[in-house]
Symmetry: C2
């Protein structure tokens, strides 16, 4: 399931009688929904791992399967659009299992009245993104609903990838001593979409970072021992770290000063009262690499276009399992926890 995990959710799902926006946040309410509703209904070993993708055996091969729906508004924003997001998002979810992404499906739910020209731009963008990532969109579906029953266009992509022999990357695999590496600045995507939507003055200055990360991951896997990977989309880096800590039953300590945030993103977050740690990214990853190979992994990342700003931001520790501590500039530390509510609805 996407950016969810089932731990540390004290309240039962029945606190709500209806779905609220927070259930789609990727935060605490989403985790509740998964724990109390989807997991009990669909329970199986692959789902239970709560990676962003399932790795399953099909005949003689291990394949990764993943899906995401995209409901971002507006459809077009600086640096990308819903189509590019849909392709890169699924490519990245596959890559985060160490799989080589191969084939995608794409299902379109369109609102009556959607301008054909917009649909054409989106499909063209998907085709370009697929070409860049080296995947083929091999099957699809189109549905149209009457005006007012959807908001323009929703796209759901699913993808399959091949997991090579010997590869074992999972959010369950982080170990004390592992080095935490982030591939670049955080919060760009969320702020780009938010600024466009709200017509804020920094609109256009901040570009979405949407990008395919499979080539980056391939280089990392060759360079060293990468144990856990996550692309911190909805919910942001903070949520991904919490998920890895919980899934691996380890603690994580992050150096706040080391986390790269663009100055304009930082300023935008301050204006809106948001923490960049919980703002969505669409072209970044966080990795847990073994201590002995971390430098090699980092160097390999920096040689790749989507990893050139990669930095070490912290450590996996044996203390406080399941908990993420942020060491702040002034020498203190605070616990990073999942947000309860939807910070930025419909960001992806």
């Amino acid at each position: 399931m996407d950016t969810e995990f089932a731990l540390s959710c004290p309240l039962p799902i029945t606190q709500h009688k209806t779905i609220v926006l927070g259930h789609g946040s990727g935060g605490r309410l989403t985790a509740q929904l998964v724990r109390d509703l989807f997991l009990p209904a669909f329970d199986n070993p692959a789902l239970r791992k709560l990676d962003d993708q399932a790795v399953v055996e099909v005949g003689a091969e291990r394949i990764a399967l993943t899906t995401d729906s995209f409901v971002v508004t507006p459809l077009f924003f600086p640096g990308g659009d819903i189509g590019k997001l849909a392709v890169n998002g699924t490519v990245n979810d596959l890559a985060m299992s160490g799989a080589r992404p191969l084939f995608l499906s794409a299902a379109f739910i369109m609102e009556e009245g959607l301008p054909l020209e917009e649909l054409m731009r989106v499909t063209q963008s998907m085709a370009e993104a697929a070409a860049e990532a080296g995947v083929a969109i091999v099957t699809g579906d189109t549905k149209v609903v009457n005006r007012g029953s959807a908001d323009k266009l929703f796209i759901t992509t699913a993808g399959v990838g091949l997991v090579a022999n010997g590869i074992s990357v999972s959010v369950c695999n982080a170990k004390p001593g592992d080095v935490v590496i982030v591939s670049g600045t955080i919060g760009d995507h969320g702020m780009a979409v938010w600024a466009t939507r709200e017509g804020l003055e920094f609109e256009g200055a901040i570009l979405s970072d949407t990008a395919p990360l499979n080539a980056l991951v391939e280089a990392m896997l060759i360079a060293g021992e990468v144990r856990a990977l996550r692309d911190p989309t909805r919910g942001g880096l903070g949520t991904s770290l919490c998920e890895i800590a919980a899934a691996s039953s380890t603690g994580i300590e992050i150096d706040a000063t080391a986390v790269p945030v663009r100055e304009d993103v930082k300023a935008a977050c301050e204006t809106l009262g948001m923490d960049p740690l919980f703002v969505a990214n669409e072209g970044k990853l966080v990795a847990m690499a073994s201590e002995s190979s971390a430098e090699a992994v980092l160097n390999a990342m920096r040689r790749m276009p989507h990893g050139k700003d990669a930095r070490v931001i912290g450590r996996v520790v044996a203390d406080h399992p399941g908990m993420v501590l942020l060491k702040t500039e002034i020498g203190g530390s605070r616990i990073i926890d999942l947000p309860f509510v939807e910070q930025l609805p419909r960001i992806c």
Copy 2:
């Protein structure tokens, strides 16, 4: 792509400036959209076959990949609900390639305000359908959109299946002489949903036929030579036959009196001015079996719960390639052609 093909669409897509309901009909406008927009953008050999699923090589295995979005309204109807439909629809699309369905993904787009109890019923129903079909739902996604931006709940399922060695089933493979077999009565699903939606008096009497067809297909493949399979969902049996005739460049002749339609479905269709040939099914298939093995295939079908009413309804012929002729009761014949417009919007 689902129930679309790119032939015999005289008008270019640019006749419309925006998406209309007919673009989701599975008929002529959907075919135009695929031919003029999706195919040029995403072009690749697997997509070009225009089966309801792609069969691709992943490592040493051939796997089938498919996806469908479900936007049916109402969410619950006699004989099923959106969840059962979403699981069976994807299972069946996989089965129609001769694949053994194995793993499904499920992505939920929920409208703020959706009663949690309804979501629970739907997921429970999906779990039961998955268990019946012998597949596991191994990964998923949840998105929430604000009130008014979607109609309660849309579900997109994708699935992977394994295609055994030697299996080659495709809508491109029908050959003159093949026998056309339908697995049971047609039009049940469409009329069940329509009646519920409109509060018509035969509501409740007609049940959706939604069912997993993978066990039926497995029995058929063991019994004889099955060349082409299609589950006539949106667009109905008529559309599926047109698609097979076009994809295989053969003619098809159907005996109108042989096509099984329940009396109440026939009556409902007459009331609404609809042709059961173009009304959706969700638990039926149409097969082209080699002449020599057709009887064995038919007998195997009749031994299975979802094939007990299987009947021969016609022949694949060398004449009039791409064209489907319906021989009527009074000895005449008429050409079956794709409907231009959406007969029953949001039927699946």
